[in-house]
Amino acid sequence: MIKHISKNWSIYAWYFIILIGLIITIAPFWWALASSFKDNVTIFAEVAPFSFWSMVPGTSLDPYYGIFQKGFGKAMVNTFFVSVVSVIGGIIINSMAGFAFAQFRFKGDNILFGFILLSFAVPADAIAIPLFKMMRQIGWFDTYYALIIPMLANGIIIFLFRQFFIGIPKELMEAARVDGLSWFGVYWKICMPLSRPVTLGAGLLLFVFQWESFLWPLIAAPSPDLHLIQVVLARFSTEYAPIWNQQFAASTIAGLLPLIFIYLFQKQFVSALTGVEQK
């Protein structure tokens, strides 16, 4: 009897803690979403003093109309372009490197693999300023090249492809080689078509990296024509500081797309990120 109560007690305690955590996790984004459909007077009135209505979405589309007048559409198109090109280029060069590490023993292979993995332990933001100096030297500053090309190679994704390619039976490739297929043919016609799940995960990672990048596009491509979505969002928050509903609308759009992608392909995304196969 006592045991029964204490067991129930622990479940209630668990639910209580989980609920508090959920509120802290979700409330900011939900508030942003709900407020992105309201006018500013309403937002302010519902928050101080706090009213339950602040969490109920409004019905106005004006904030969304407003941000597209301020160049948000252009930033979305830019970000799509940069992300998609990065996904394609990133998948090609990283899978090729993964293929080299999985398929061949060659001089320095372990050292090169270690070097590539280690170089990605250095946070991108730490080398952003020197990289910016380099872009100025080679004339890529303020171009799409600067936004895309330095972001293509990625240690995590090379590692992912290597792990997957190791699992492909060697006999399959040897048979193809005997039939006269080149190594590039083996990679392109046999290995890549088999690696659809890992390609999906890797593509998702590359897309989200670019969609969420801020510091690099901020310093590498300052002209408004090249602005990406996070940069524009940050610019709104300083240039149009009092216009809260438009900041919320921009946050909602910028945040919703990766969220939808991640939730649709949660398994592949988590596997790609952690390197652990999801059940």
């Binding site: 706090f50 332990a121 730490a126 190594w183």
Partner: protein, 298 residues
């Protein structure tokens, strides 16, 4: 003859590797050397003409004589010492909570992972409005419990804590994902055996989960520290290092020296110091956590 070259077996792997390897060298390794080299150069703008001169360690000397640098180093140290253990403990605790079996566990987990999909600039902008002293949701919510409005980001005492809260909201879900994946890899037989032996929950955690999760925790600790060492997005968007330099971490000081004042020698000296310190911190953690492994397993 050229054709022959490509047909040789030994070149094939290098050809596959070349694009990614060259890109890594050019855009990851080379910038570190640019940073070190340019930190030894002083740029002056006399009469609209840019003049560069090699000055050995003069930029560093000026830096070390500047109280602003030491203040910034202090803020960075405080941030590092607080934020990393806090985030790891919180994500470990949450991961343990989310390992529990429940009807709704899939939904609950998905909701907890939401901040992973929300980019740091978005989190920063939204939390900046949340923590607005006059019209923010945080003060509105505190008011329900009769707690007076807090200044948060505009107060010297609370700004750094507010930024820690923002970075933690964004970061915990991400690090927890790795810990959850690691915990799922632990065979359930271990826990069943421990249950038969009458182990209490804490003992299971201490003698099964913790030792087997060692590698994951180590990875998360190192990666988290490296990430937070260059945390500057909330400062760029919200506080600009203030109020009264209270959130002016080294990474932001480097950004400000370069992009506000065009003092690239100073900016890259700080970046070089930051890179060296972070490598030392990461090395020490690897050493320290690596040594303890032996006795824990026994």
């Amino acid at each position: 003859m050229f054709n022959n070259f490509f047909k040789r077996q030994w070149v094939v792997p290098y050809l596959f590797l070349a694009p990614a390897l060259l890109a890594t060298i050019a855009f990851k390794l080379y910038p570190i050397f640019i940073g070190l080299w340019e930190s030894l150069i002083y740029t002056s703008f006399g009469g609209g003409v840019e003049k560069r001169s090699f000055v050995w360690f003069e930029n560093y000397q000026y830096l070390f004589d500047d109280p602003l640098f030491w203040q910034s180093l202090k803020i960075t140290s405080i941030l590092t010492i607080i934020i990393n253990p806090f985030q790891i403990a919180l994500s470990l605790g949450l991961a343990l909570l989310l390992m529990r079996k429940s009807k709704f566990i899939r939904v609950i987990r998905s909701l907890y992972l939401l901040p992973i999909g929300v980019a740091l600039p978005i989190a920063t902008v939204v939390w900046g409005l949340m923590l607005d002293p006059y019209q923010g949701l945080a003060n509105g919510f505190l008011g329900v419990f009769g707690i007076p409005p807090q200044p948060f980001l505009i107060s010297e005492d609370q700004a750094l804590w507010s930024i820690i809260a923002i970075a933690t909201w964004k970061g915990v879900a991400f690090w927890m994902l790795f810990l959850l994946a690691g915990m799922e890899e632990i065979p359930t037989q271990y826990y069943e055996a421990a249950k038969i032996d009458g182990a209490r929950p804490f003992e299971k955690f201490r003698f099964i989960t913790l030792p087997l999760l060692k590698r994951t925790i180590l990875f998360v600790f190192v990666a988290d520290t490296a990430t937070n060492f260059v945390l500057m997005v909330p400062m760029i968007i919200l506080t600009k290092g203030g109020p009264m330099q209270s959130t002016n971490v080294l990474a932001f000081e480097a950004y400000r020296s370069g992009f506000y004042y065009q003092d690239w020698g100073r900016s890259l000296s700080i970046i070089s110091i930051l890179t060296i310190i972070s490598l030392i911190v990461i090395g020490l953690q690897l050493l320290f956590l690596g040594e303890n492994k032996e006795d824990r397993v026994k």
